[in-house]
């Protein structure tokens, strides 16, 4: 593959110039990443987990890290403008001028990975090693599970150029009142970024994280994001990602999270941008009573492609998981949902639910849904469901029979369909922002702005 041949040159040329080059720990991490990429390459549809998402478009895209623009005059998306701790990356490169960490409570650190490496490569390597690495294999003996979920070649590629990203640590028992935001802005016509996002929430701590991926004039860029998440005992992490890049962008993300006893990891992913966007989420519920809520909403039209792939691994007993993913597909758009729930032998009293619903607005829209349950314990409650359908004709007529024009009626029903997913979001700032972004996207899709600005009764 051409990409691999040119990558050798790239890696050899660029790695001496990466921050912390020469420090043993970082050199090892980058070399491991590079070796992994050489071994696994870019996943092809022959790999089970990539059967429905073909990365052939990557062949025409530069994998080299973009240089990053010094632009400081960019509109920043925010779930709570002026009231967040934010790190901003322009074309993948940390931008200190646009960032605003603000005052952090004691026990909380928020750093750009580049900054951390420049300050102490050894410490940065130690931090990087602390986070769970994605695995291609669930380690279960029963049945083959090759390459399910995350593609290690892409994770390796991210590791080979390890330099950018963010590290958030929240110390024991600390509640961070303001959300933390990671903002990625694409301004370049092309170029790649390989950020590493690491979130460590210690026992009893609470934090909300919003991740934005937007374009401000960006073109055929490639974001290859690897995230590591650790949720400690009784800790709560509410995490939302808003993927709203240009329609020519490629976006591949892999999130690996572990949750300790009685901890909660909530993650929501909005996918409305990119010609191809995939988010892979793996959550391991490792301690008794841990829980996770995984939800996603997507909208694809034209010939765009969105993929939501998840693996929820119930390792310990008494854990709960709830997954709801819904999307709207128009034109020749295509969406993929792959959701697997594993219940390991010790994970008795597991409560796991999964739901995937797709709304098809055209005859050429396509959804490939693959829900899977793999259960090795006997005392569990698990369910899954997948549906694909059109807009409800009866509902449409009911709205029109009250004077609502057909286009507005459609927009209302689409918004209602997606708003239901946003209801899954526990943090109200994230939820309100998700709903607003969904409305905005529907507005662009249908040309109709739905007015839901009706005050709550009783106010």
């Amino acid at each position: 593959m051409a990409a691999i041949a040119t990558l050798k040159d790239l890696y050899e040329t660029l790695s001496p110039g990466l921050p912390g080059a020469g420090a043993a720990g970082l050199d090892r991490l980058r070399a491991d990443g590079y070796a992994r990429f050489l071994a696994d390459g870019i996943p092809t549809p022959k790999v089970e987990g990539w059967k429905y998402t073909n990365l052939r478009d990557l062949a025409g895209v530069s994998l080299a890290p973009a240089q990053g623009a010094a632009n400081t005059d960019l509109a920043l998306p925010s779930v709570a403008p002026g009231e967040t701790h934010r790190l901003v990356f322009v074309d993948g490169r940390f931008n200190a001028a646009l960032s605003a960490v603000g005052t952090l409570p004691q026990g909380v650190t928020l750093d750009s990975l580049r900054g951390l490496i420049e300050a102490s490569p050894a410490y940065a390597a130690e931090v990087l090693d602390r986070f769970p690495a994605p695995k291609s294999d669930t380690g279960l003996r029963v049945g083959p599970n090759p390459g399910r979920g995350q593609a290690l070649g892409l994770v390796g590629l991210n590791g080979a150029f390890l330099a950018e990203g963010a590290v958030l640590t929240v110390g024991e028992g600390v509640t961070l009142a303001q959300p933390v935001e990671f903002v990625f802005i694409a301004t370049a016509a092309d170029g790649a970024w390989h950020p590493r996002l690491l979130i460590d929430v210690a026992a009893g701590a609470k934090v909300t994280v919003a991740e934005h991926h937007v374009a401000r004039g960006g073109g055929a860029t490639f974001a290859n994001i690897v995230s590591g998440v650790r949720v400690g005992e009784g800790a709560i992490l509410r995490h939302a990602k808003f993927q709203e890049e240009a329609e020519t962008a490629l976006h591949l993300a892999s999130v690996t999270a572990t949750v300790a006893a009685s901890g909660t990891y909530e993650t929501f992913v909005l996918t409305t941008g990119g010609r191809l966007a995939r988010t892979d989420v793996q959550v391991r519920l490792e301690g008794p009573g841990a829980s996770t809520r995984v939800s996603g909403a997507y909208g694809v039209d034209g010939s765009r492609h969105a993929d939501f792939t998840s693996l929820i691994d119930h390792v310990a007993a008494n854990c709960t998981s709830r997954e709801v993913v819904k999307g709207v597909i128009d034109g020749r758009g295509r969406a993929v949902f792959q959701g697997k729930i594993i219940v390991r032998p010790d994970a008795q009293k597991t409560d796991g639910h999964q739901l995937n619903r797709a709304l098809l607005l055209s005859d050429t829209a396509e959804i490939d849904a693959k829900p899977e349950l793999e259960i090795y314990a006997d005392d569990v409650k698990c369910s899954h469901g997948a549906t694909a359908g059109e807009l409800d004709e009866e509902a449409l007529f009911y709205l029109r029979a009250r004077g609502i024009p057909a286009d507005t009626a459609r927009a209302l029903l689409i918004a209602a369909f997606l708003d239901e997913v946003a209801e899954e979001i526990g943090d109200e700032r994230l939820r309100a922002y998700a709903m607003a972004r969904i409305q905005e996207r529907i507005g662009r899709l249908t040309g109709i702005t739905v007015d839901t600005d009706v005050p709550v009764l009783g106010e």
Binding site: R400, A401, R402, L413
Partner: protein, 250 residues
């Protein structure tokens, strides 16, 4: 107000309405009664503009305009209202969002200024109170989790908000117990006025004791076979529809 002339309509190629003639003047309440399968619901859908009902012959004139040339939403904006036999549940769309969007679309069509959120709320609260509907019901998703009676009341609330000049009540009594029926009938009666006409479609006479019509028509197998005053409803209740024949005879 409404003039139906020789109306023929088909569903999936099958002729259901076979030449209906009916004139409704302003302020009049007409009842259409008939056996199951006579075409009552088809008539209500044809008048309200539902897709899938093809008019093959005849005309419907509403306030001097060709009703059949209009889209469903246009008919509603012109003042035609259909109270559904089975009001539809719409998860995710609140009653307030739904009604505000509808009311403002209708007002815009009439050249009236749109209501802002506070004006709207004031209005819906007043109208809902008269129908014994609380705040919780009006902010919930449209008809989701509503009992049969609540759904019908919700439809009448919509009618009270939109103030149509012609309302079709399709089997409004179906699925209602006597208390719910009275409540709905009171709501409808409060909307009776010299400018507003109604077409009440029902299988049973029961509803007509509460919403007393000026004229009663019998629809059987696609045609109006008999017309009379309100006493006709009582006669039908006593004798049934047997004398109006079977589909084969039509």
């Amino acid at each position: 107000m409404l003039e139906i002339k020789n109306l023929h309509a088909t569903v999936d190629g099958k002729e259901i309405l076979k030449g209906i003639n009916l004139t409704i003047n302003p302020g009049e309440v007409h009842a259409i009664m008939g056996p199951n399968g006579s075409g009552k619901s088809t008539l209500s859908y044809v008048l309200s503009g539902r897709d899938g009902y093809e008019v093959t012959e005849g005309s419907v004139t509403f306030q001097g305009k060709d009703l059949l040339a209009m889209e469903a939403e246009e008919r509603a904006a012109e003042g035609v209202f259909l109270a559904f036999q089975y009001p539809v549940e719409i998860p995710g769309v609140s009653n307030t969002t739904f009604l505000k969007t509808a009311l403002n679309a209708v007002r815009k069509h009439k050249g009236l200024p749109e209501l802002d959120a506070m004006q709207f709320l004031k209005l819906i609260r007043a109208k809902a109170k008269a129908l014994n509907m609380n705040d919780d019901m009006i902010k919930r998703a449209v008809n989701v989790g509503f009992s049969g009676g609540e759904k019908k009341r919700n439809d009448i609330l919509q009618m009270a908000m939109l103030e149509p000049s012609f309302a079709i009540l399709d089997e409004t009594d179906s699925g209602l117990d006597i208390d719910a029926l009275k409540l709905v009938a009171d709501g409808v009666n409060s909307l009776r006025s010299p400018e507003r006409s109604m077409l009440v479609i029902t299988h049973y006479q029961r509803l007509l004791s509460y919403i007393v019509p000026d004229h009663v028509h019998v629809l059987a197998y696609g045609k109006i076979v008999r017309s009379g005053g309100k006493e006709l409803a009582l006669e039908l209740e006593a004798k049934g529809y047997a004398e109006f024949g079977s589909p084969e005879a039509a």
